[in-house]
């Protein structure tokens, strides 16, 4: 719970949002939403902030299209600027590096996934394994149009200098994500009856999540249905292990 309401240090250059605003922003299901922002937004958010938001989305949209066609490594900031029809300097203002664009994208992915789980009334009383399934499934759906880029980002994240893998922002994003996972685990057990292993569960879940992502990237079955089967079976097993305190 605490990590979710903590002001997140991720967005140094993003002044527009109050902390914990994940649910306030209308959920954007696709990155194509860039031009749909109406000129009269909700009150309380300034015109400038809205403008910045729109610009950020526009840059992201242009970058994602290029990442998908040209590849993450071969795309330059100049190409992104040209595609978004803005000055290259503006891109730097918003995102100092390509990794920052990637991180921004991943942030939106996490926002989307959390919102998906929270906004589905049918999930409120679902068993833990189904909630976790819905969470990862929402992430994967968000990532699906950008599969090529995710593959590259995955590799790129392993470099020690990578912002995606090792920056403070990345750590904060991961913390926010795992805090949500922890929240899901906590709410599925009666008060005071959390299993002994649950303190460790989010950490294990993070490693598991990376594994799922890798599995998904390499899944060549039609409709990637093997990933679905893998997710389903492994989550059932994982939750069973958690409940029994380590013995499957």
């Amino acid at each position: 719970m605490p990590a979710r309401s903590k002001p997140s240090p991720v967005r140094r250059k993003i002044p527009r949002k109050p902390p914990g605003a994940t649910t306030r922003r209308p959920p954007r299901t696709t990155t194509r939403a860039r031009r749909t922002t109406a000129p009269t937004g909700p009150r309380g958010i300034g015109v400038r902030a809205r403008h910045k938001d729109a610009l950020r989305a526009r840059i992201l949209h242009a970058a994602l299209a290029l990442f998908q066609t040209r590849g993450f490594d071969d795309t330059t900031t100049r190409q992104i600027a040209r595609r978004a029809r803005i000055a290259e300097g503006t891109v730097f203002n918003y995102f100092p590096t390509k990794d920052d664009i990637a991180l921004y994208f991943l942030e939106r992915e996490v926002d989307h996934a959390i919102a998906t789980v929270r906004q589905d009334p049918a999930l409120a009383k679902a068993p833990l394994e189904e909630k976790l399934f819905a969470l990862i499934q929402a992430q994967i759906e968000f990532l699906t149009p950008h599969e090529r880029f995710i593959g590259a980002a995955f590799v790129s994240a392993l470099r020690p200098a990578s912002k995606i893998g090792f920056s403070l922002q990345a750590a904060a994003l991961r913390d926010r994500y795992l805090a949500f996972v922890d929240e899901l685990i906590t709410e599925s057990f009666p008060r005071g009856r959390r299993p002994a292993l649950s303190w460790f569960a989010p950490h294990a879940f993070w490693i598991y999540y990376l594994g799922v992502l890798l599995y998904w990237l390499h899944d060549s079955s039609p409709g990637k249905q093997n990933t679905l089967a893998f997710l389903d079976r492994s989550l059932k097993l994982g939750v069973k292990v958690l409940k029994r305190g380590g013995v499957a």
């Binding site: 999930l123 039609p222 409709g223 990637k224 679905l228």
Partner: protein, 453 residues
């Protein structure tokens, strides 16, 4: 029965050990299935001690909780290998195979991955809670955007790989053991072909259209109609067929007369498929039959359909209700011809097992003499099923099994089992004869010509 059970325990234990190992290594469905089938030895033994059908039914209910393609394989194997007591076999033979249950989020994801959109976007309403397990998946009620009530069959993801994996495992296991004598490799191939065909819903769509047309002459059968624009290889949408499953149907206490009618129709339906269509519904689970008041029959789940070669069918026609001496030359020639079709020689041992089967089972249950043609066979008698099963396993021991038999036997077992539960009295020979005359006449089931009325 009893003397066959003893060595089986040893075989079961060996099997269990192998299965436990394989389950640990490969995590296949089959491993889990075999593990839970054999390892709960003590609990199982306690129940087996009361070897009456009721106890067996309870056990199979528990087994029914196990799912996956292995269930189908296990079902077929247990039937073939004769490692289980007859009462359990009877129940097992009828078991519905299913995949692990899917939660609503997985169903949504699978529909989206297969049809490109979520169920809520494709249908006016979609019931997230399945009402039945299907072959390798589960079935949901839904209403289309135009208001038509339908059922949607959703397959468990990755099932085809699981089937392939299970069979690979089984072949390895089968090679080194005595079991391969009981379950020869061609039969394993046949089973795999059938079971993986069941996982292809496109094919099932074709089957549905075929049977809807072909079964029309038997006015009492109703088959669901597929909706191709809402179907794929893993999701199948079809019109809803009314009727109750046998349990529910029997609870409504249908009269003996009505049960006789339904029984005759089921038997006629079976022989119509084999002798006239040369193609039959080979999933005998009684969940696949829906019974309506007044004796109407709904037939669902056409995942498992077997086509027979025309020359095999004409051989069956010649052998069914064979009037002469089944020990004599002509009958032997007919059987030898059948084996020749599959490039097999009929050995002496095979021949005597076949003749015994033919005389002791078919000769009694399907009396060939014209004057006994109208005789109704009372399927309430469990001896019929027992004799069928024990003679079938003798056939296997005599290495007389043909690949064609695997599915035929599965279907036939299902038929007798259903007739037994209905306690139906059926004029078997009269109905079979009806399917052998040319040209095809009207349905004979329930027709009043019976002597007993």
């Amino acid at each position: 029965v009893n003397d066959r059970k003893k060595p089986a325990t040893g075989a079961a234990k060996r099997g269990a050990r192998m299965a436990a190992m394989a389950a640990g290594v490969t995590g296949t469905y089959l491993g889990y299935f075999a593990q839970s089938l054999f390892l709960g030895e003590r609990a199982r033994k306690r129940k087996l001690d009361e070897t009456n059908t009721r106890a067996a039914r309870r056990i199979t209910k528990e087994l029914g909780g196990l799912r996956g393609p292995a269930m189908k394989l296990g079902q077929a194997l247990s039937l073939q290998a004769g490692v289980l007591p007859d009462e359990m076999l009877m129940e097992l033979a009828s078991l519905q195979a299913g995949a692990p249950p899917m939660h609503p989020s997985l169903v949504k994801a699978q529909v989206k991955s297969s049809l490109g959109r979520l169920p809520d976007e494709l249908f006016r309403s979609f019931d997230n809670v399945p009402f039945a397990a299907a072959s390798l998946g589960q079935v949901h009620h839904a209403v289309t955007r135009s208001g038509q009530p339908v059922v949607v069959k959703v397959q468990y993801p990755g099932i085809r790989e699981a089937i392939a994996g299970d069979f690979k495992w089984f072949r390895t296991f089968n090679r080194g053991t005595q079991l391969s004598r009981m379950v020869p490799p061609p039969i394993v191939d046949e089973l795999e072909a059938q079971i993986s065909a069941e996982a292809d819903y496109y094919r099932e769509t074709e089957h549905l259209s075929f049977f809807a047309r072909a079964l029309r002459p038997l006015g009492y059968v109703c088959v669901p109609e597929p909706l191709p624009h809402l179907s794929s290889d893993r999701v199948l949408t079809m019109s809803r067929v009314e009727g109750n499953h046998i349990e529910r149907y029997l609870q409504s206490k249908p009269s003996q007369r009505e049960r006789d009618l339904v029984g005759e129709r089921l038997l006629e339906l079976f022989y119509f498929q084999i002798l006239r269509l040369g193609t039959f519904h080979s999933d005998p689970h009684w969940g696949n039959y829906l019974f309506k008041p007044e004796g109407g029959i709904g037939m669902v789940d056409f995942g498992s359909v077997k086509r027979l070669e025309p020359r095999f069918v004409s051989n069956l026609r010649a052998v069914f209700l064979y009037p002469g001496d089944r020990d004599a030359g002509e009958f032997t020639e007919l059987m030898a011809e059948r084996y020749g079709m599959f490039g097999r020689k009929m050995t002496r041992r095979t021949r005597s097992a076949l003749v015994r089967f033919s005389k002791e089972f078919y000769g009694k249950v399907y009396p060939p003499e014209e004057e006994r043609e109208q005789q109704a066979i009372d399927f309430a008698d469990p001896a019929i099923m027992k004799s069928y099963l024990s003679l079938s396993s003798d056939l296997l021991v005599a290495r007389a099994a043909l690949p064609e038999y695997a599915m035929l036997a599965r279907s036939e077992t299902g038929l007798y089992l259903t007739l037994h539960r209905l306690k139906a009295r059926v004029r078997t020979s009269w109905l079979v004869r009806g399917q052998m005359t040319e040209p095809a006449g009207p349905s004979r089931a329930g027709e009043n010509a019976r002597g007993r009325d």
